[in-house]
Symmetry: C2
Subunit: 656 residues, 2 copies
Amino acid sequence: MTEQKLSEPPPAGLGPREPTAPVAPVAPRPGAVVTLRPLGVHEARLDPGGLLGRWQRRNAEDTIPHCVDNLHAHGNIANLRAAAGESGDAFTGMWFADSDVHKTLEGAAWELASSPGDASLRSFVDDTTALLARAQGPDGYLNSYFTVAAPDERWRRPEWSHELYCAGHLVQAAVAAARTGVRPDLAAVARRFADLLVERFGPGGAEEVCGHPEIETALAELYRLTGHRPYLDLARRFLDLRGRGLLGPGRFGPAYYQDHVPVREAAEVTGHAVRQLYLLAGMVDVGVETGDHTLLDAAERLWEDAVHRRTYVTGAHGSRHRDEAYGDPYELPPDRAYAETCAAIASFQWNWRLLLATGRARYADEMERALYNAVAVAVSLDGRRFFYSNPLQSRTGHTGSGEEAQARRLPWYSCACCPPNIARLMASLHGYLATAAGDGLQIHLYAAGSVTAEVAGSAVRVDVRTEYPWQGRIELTVTSEADTPWTLALRVPDWCDAYAVRIGGGPVTAPARDGYVRLTRVWAPGTTVVLDLEMPVRRVTAHPRVDAVRGCVALARGPLVYCLEQADLPPGTVLEDVRLDPAVAVEAGRREDLPDFPVVLTAGGRLAEPGASLYAAAPARERHGAPLTLTAVPYFLWGNRSEGPMRVWIPVAATG
Amino acid sequence: MTEQKLSEPPPAGLGPREPTAPVAPVAPRPGAVVTLRPLGVHEARLDPGGLLGRWQRRNAEDTIPHCVDNLHAHGNIANLRAAAGESGDAFTGMWFADSDVHKTLEGAAWELASSPGDASLRSFVDDTTALLARAQGPDGYLNSYFTVAAPDERWRRPEWSHELYCAGHLVQAAVAAARTGVRPDLAAVARRFADLLVERFGPGGAEEVCGHPEIETALAELYRLTGHRPYLDLARRFLDLRGRGLLGPGRFGPAYYQDHVPVREAAEVTGHAVRQLYLLAGMVDVGVETGDHTLLDAAERLWEDAVHRRTYVTGAHGSRHRDEAYGDPYELPPDRAYAETCAAIASFQWNWRLLLATGRARYADEMERALYNAVAVAVSLDGRRFFYSNPLQSRTGHTGSGEEAQARRLPWYSCACCPPNIARLMASLHGYLATAAGDGLQIHLYAAGSVTAEVAGSAVRVDVRTEYPWQGRIELTVTSEADTPWTLALRVPDWCDAYAVRIGGGPVTAPARDGYVRLTRVWAPGTTVVLDLEMPVRRVTAHPRVDAVRGCVALARGPLVYCLEQADLPPGTVLEDVRLDPAVAVEAGRREDLPDFPVVLTAGGRLAEPGASLYAAAPARERHGAPLTLTAVPYFLWGNRSEGPMRVWIPVAATG
């Protein structure tokens, strides 16, 4: 185990760093087969004035404390006390409630790395680490549900127990606490459990896999932290055992668990979307650490299936409420999109792993799309309410029976997987901005802040000023001590058709290649680079096989998808009657009366005259009433004014 | 209790009948506030050469025996034996498995009324009746799950127990067995249970309702059979107790159970569709028997919500797999339609009750639409395989985890509610063709066969020759002994814009009023009437608020909705790429190579060129390849050749 002591993080400057062990959410070993290397959270800083920086500050000030409060209020902490034998309380909540503790703990560790003076957070981490150690059995087992409520069922229900899933989140929390130095001793707890898993499920042991993947990526990360190969071998074994139908049959069937086909042979994403995506993250981790290209190949093949046939325009995954599952190819209903928050986060994490492995811009594009839309929408402006499901349409008169069928963000859920998942992602968000490789530094996500790296043996720093995603202008100041050329690679997002680059005030010709502008030179300290990404409003259409949004467009600008909300319609207008007038230009701008939306879109609309009957043998041509002006707001901000109807895909009024 | 002895049914001729107690699935008391009176199953006959007659024969020869076999094979009968103390076997199957026995028994009773010589069916009815009597507790309680597996849970879980639901189906079986005279003593079993219910839940008793309505309509029917008022009062009490949130809260919430608002105040259908529809049937039954117009008013108001905002073009109900529920207004996805078979049957039964109550043609229209599409599609050509869910689209590459997510009919289901529901409907189908009222006879559904009635004190008979629904020509021969004028009312379906009437070979001017052509005269015996309903192919469009089928048409002819099936496309063609060419006329005709489809449609098509990416900022205009000829087949017959993709709603190629 890498021993790290708790200390103030180095300032985000030109301080020294250990290139082989980045303090990052994903930290491939030196020998891993990756194209790019993560920098780590101490090598990047988000300016709190920028959008991502504000998200991260809100996460620290509101979301994480809110999660901690709810872990206490909903019994998650009490469950662990009971498991430690410190109370006789009955278990409460979901049987995988421990995982919410672990994820919050992981988020707290990342946050403490940036804000070591937060005493309240420190005390949560200290207390919870100690509690977990006490709740752990002498054999290393640690799961409050099976310890308190169902000791006889331990390891007996692999489909549903989530025991390895919970173990995985414990491991991830421990890895974060160790890498950041916030609480290195949590890793000892995680290792005791992991050693038990190796003993039970390792070579010659039980041939079982978990119904909910997560342990695979976690064990790969624990290997990365410790260098202890049996962890990686067990992660690989869990992957190799899939495809034998060990899970199911039954009502769900093995495809629900991604257990219907060996992982290397899968051609389609199937079943429960979060399970599929966590599994894919593990496949990439194990692939790059073992050098097994067949795992990476399969992951890239499944990426193409997922992204080209089953992903929402917001980057969300999961078309069906039933089974929280992927749909058929091109089955992408906006109203019944399940689009679980955790799936969007899992997609972001998976794409980061693919980006590190391959260096391909398409994975960074997908991270950006998910982050600004499918992930961001899940959190309220105040950081204390959350969507579990993130549909792209909420109809007039919407109702639903479950918590996630509500058209509003809730403070907490009976299945509370999503809020602490947001907490851990947002707390480590600066770890995903940029990477280093042999030839230089690559910036993938644009945000006001700074990144540092060691390039060609020298420390370099790039300060970023930008109002991205509201504006496409990105100003970078490069500080480099290197006296040899190196390459600053700047991603040109896939949504961007035109851009300009200036260096030191002068225009340069810099064609993007494979999604990046690559600027190679000996960088004089203080060189400024301006990347100006044109950001016109786009009218996005879907593939002709997507039945659910035929005849509609989605308005987008930069990485942001926009939507119509009831709050912006004249009183009495039914949103479902609104049509976009294709003859009217859509304009982007600021509206003084809408201060929460830095850029809104203004478009021309028409109102369809509703028919009298549900079905008619009649001409298909709609009739339209008087024109009206439409306001579209960023999708991720919807539902902060009211719970009214909303839609991303807008029917286009037929013309001609 | 009406005592009826087992006897040969009277021939479907001019024999005597008891007008106040029709042998019918729904038999209002003489004092009931109804507009129309049912005739009864002995007053109607279906010609086995016609489509409905063939369905009924298939039901007798295949579906009912298949259900009986499966009740044995899946433990339903064994459960009752265990409840009777005749075995120590554990309970198997769903906790409401008794209801499958009851529904099959009801179907067998209706069938035996028509085919009294069927020894195998007779033996099933006799054995099962005796078994139910033995399985009944001394207090009248009869439910094998709670008797065998969970005696301590009896009456303790109203949301989920289905105890009153199962009791309701027992009552309905007993009513059928008594009305038909097939097994009058089953009514004694049902009454013992019903008396227990009156004691426990009646005035001063427990204020509880069942999570799954059914008991309400059943008790009203038992009152009709017996004249015992406490049964009706209890049915009314169960209705009156709804709206207090006795069911839920919890994951589902009271709206799932239709318990969120008093039944008379409900403005929208909500929650589980079958529960909603059975409840509505009970509301009409209690309303007409008590003269409580507020119940009927509420049922008609909910009909308008259901039919104008939430019903599929096939007459199916239930837009969501999750909760098997109604969706939001205009939420009608064809691919993810749940469209449970039982909901279509329940809609048929509910509409019949509304038709009797009001005489309004719109209810008969709805019966016809559901019968020929949403109900009929559930059964395979051989009568032994069934859909549970009846979507209007099955995509290329369709997958699903549950049984009902399959794109094929299955022989049986773990939740086997649908097959025996079909059995009981089909066995009594001839009871729904026509009605009598003070001024004459009303024919609502057209089928080759005959109906008899007593009109103005005289026996009349109408023989019907028709190839309906394949052709719109209906030839009726009226035999009447009445020497005073009476009215033969013939429904002109809502899909029909033009028709002609001839009497005795000569054209007559007969404007339809409120959906019926009413022909009033002294009918000379042997008078022929020809109703010629024009049956052009219709291109049906949906209300502009139905997002899921924007830009599409459904092809229909007469009462039949048509669909495209993969089997009729050139090899290699992806169904999702097919577009209808609006410039090409759609023709109806017979195809020698498709003998299972008496009338197919031929249309012009184009293939959309699939785009390279899932989303693009591009012109919305699709590009199309070479034209092709499309074949559309009746929706209810899809899936009998292959499990290939299918769609009812066809995107229209943009023109101009």
